[in-house]
Subunit: 338 residues, 2 copies
DNA sequence: AATAGCATTCAAAGCGATTTCAAATTTTGA
DNA sequence: TCAAAATTTGAAATCGCTTTGAATGCTATT
């Protein structure tokens, strides 16, 4: 069922039918009703490709993901959040999977040149993000989840990682901990660097010296966290507190602590960063987990909103949001053992 | 940079340039090289919408997800698997988010009518899946992850849920357990029904009577599993073994067991279904977790492959795959206490 | 009654690719 | 050497929509 068919069926021109369906004013109200009603009855839907070709808009927002490890729980929550906002808009998410960083850059280039998407959502930036520069060059609208330093204005939404970790660290210091381990994300990623800054700031504010052996950088899996924690617990004096970069990390740390015969919240404390997974609740863990909390899903929803605003013409200079992060104290963090 | 521009730049017709780029045989080798080289140098990429309109293919595979709860860890693994296979093909995944079941059906209808995607991946089917019927009616290619009973041939890939749970249950019975709880998925979903069948079959094969109080149906979150387990552990005689529908469920069950002062693998046994999450390894849990294991990611990859085959013309009657499920015994399952 | 103005409608020209069909050129074979 | 065949190129139609600019019919005004 094409527009042409529908027009013939109605005894009208394509022009009029198109206008009627798209709500243009210069069409008789009676005609409009007849058109809309018939279109609905016959189940007419404009061909997406034709529509896109004619309007220049693609009706999709793009995201490029590294297949091997970027499809994690964070990503699905983030996508869910984006989707929640986009559901009303009849705009879809176009996922492109790639294997390497080079492929990723190429994917943005392709996506831009072929106009598959109206805008991109860029995530997990590095301190100086090449992809952001590329998209700026190509003049493709995008919003960055996180921040980067490329000397040009970029639309972004980020959480206050520095502040969050600084407060968490300070709290642990208040509790008497002096050997505080940080299991952080991959070096070079802005969020990880920001967290490190907060960590170091809190330590130096109390004159506690920084021990590189107490810091680890890696992707957030329970396995790597387990191994790192095992190794750190061998140190003497051993760490009495852990800062976990994610809930997955927290599970690994927790496991290592138990395996070492130690008790979480008593012998060793932990504060984890919680992206708020509906299927893994910090409050319901045993012992319940102290966290720095910020909902990934909410971020996604807001990111979608920001993209829509940008597509509607809002200047990117006005699109910057820094979200505060809650510190939620529960049982996993307690006074340092004597 | 349009095809037209490129053609003018080269002093050739659009026809020839198009042919050269698409590898048609009737173009001079020297010309082809010149065209390809220039296209590359100038960064030419065909406009996706125009290409789609002209060819009728959209270059994307669609998936519809309920925003509220279908973006879970299973989904991201599955998407990751699909993406892995699609990465080489320059085919993308088009995600449509919806809020209700009605919206979902409408989304398939829209997607089909507007030809946004070349095919759909259908997931989490019910015993008699309306969406599958719709897509068959609309003649849109699709592959089903799971199975459904609609009396017409459908392409599908499923794991042997019945066999897996039957074996797991039998094994627990062998270990002397008689009160075995099943924390299953939502009623009506084929996979959950299949698991129930396996469970009941194993019980009745040993003449163990089924106690409805030992069966729970819900989405797989640690919280709900925790509550259900708490309630079940109050029963007298209480269950001595649990079958967990997912690793998330397993975490909840584990928590409830610990909170009740019981020891997993000794006082209470558990076998969980493991979709193989890279960030949550059954082998690395403490105690390590016995599982029925089947990689969600691999399923996704294979689903993508099957879709490609169907789009290449393979008859859907020939696309049925039932994957066996491994039973991996570890520390969480032991002999029933006396 | 003639004209201006308004409300509706339509034919046709795009959007940027592919593809059909025809034309031009070169090669081959007798 | 010349016709036939093969190779290579191009003009124009096509995909299904939007949108421009023109045309139509009707009402209102003088």
């Amino acid at each position: 069922m094409r527009l042409k068919d529908l027009a013939e069926h109605l005894g009208l021109s394509q022009t009029t039918v198109s206008r009627a369906l798209n709500g243009y004013p210069e069409v008789n109200e009676a005609t409009r009703l007849r058109v809309v009603e018939t279109a609905k009855r016959l189940g007419y839907r404009p061909n997406a490709s034709a529509l896109r070709l004619a309007t220049g808009r693609s009706g999709a927002i793009g995201m490029v993901l590294r297949g091997s490890y970027e499809f994690g729980p964070h990503t699905s929550e983030f996508l869910g959040g984006i989707g929640e906002r986009l559901a009303d808009e009849e705009i879809d998410i176009l996922l492109t999977t790639v294997e390497s960083f080079e492929d990723e850059v190429a994917a943005y280039r392709r996506g831009a040149a072929s106009q598959k998407v109206d805008a991109f959502i860029l995530h997990s930036p590095t301190l100086h993000d090449e992809r952001a520069e590329l998209l700026l060059d190509l003049k493709v609208p995008f919003v960055l989840h996180g921040r980067t330093n490329i000397g040009k204005p970029v639309a972004w939404l980020d959480i206050d990682n520095t502040g969050a970790i600084e407060r968490a660290t300070s709290h642990l210091l208040d509790l008497g901990h002096r050997r505080i381990a940080l299991l952080n994300g991959i070096k070079g990623r802005t969020f990880a660097e920001h967290r490190e800054i907060g960590y170091l700031a809190a330590l130096s504010a109390r004159g506690v010296s920084f021990d590189p052996a107490l810091m680890g950088n890696s992707v957030f899996t329970d396995e790597i966290a387990f191994r790192m924690t095992q190794a750190m617990l061998e140190l003497r004096p051993r760490p009495t507190a852990f800062l976990a970069g994610s809930m997955m990390t927290a599970l690994g740390i927790f496991r290592a602590i138990r395996q070492a015969g130690l008790e979480l919240g008593k012998d060793v404390s932990m504060i984890a960063h919680d992206d708020v997974f509906p299927y893994l609740n910090a409050d319901n863990m045993y012992p319940s987990m102290s966290t720095t909390r910020s909902s990934m899903r909410q971020a996604g929803t807001r990111m979608a909103e920001l993209i829509l605003q940008i597509l509607a013409g809002k200047p990117i200079e006005d699109v910057h949001e820094l979200w505060p992060v809650e510190l939620v104290l529960r049982e996993s963090s307690g006074p340092a053992p004597q």
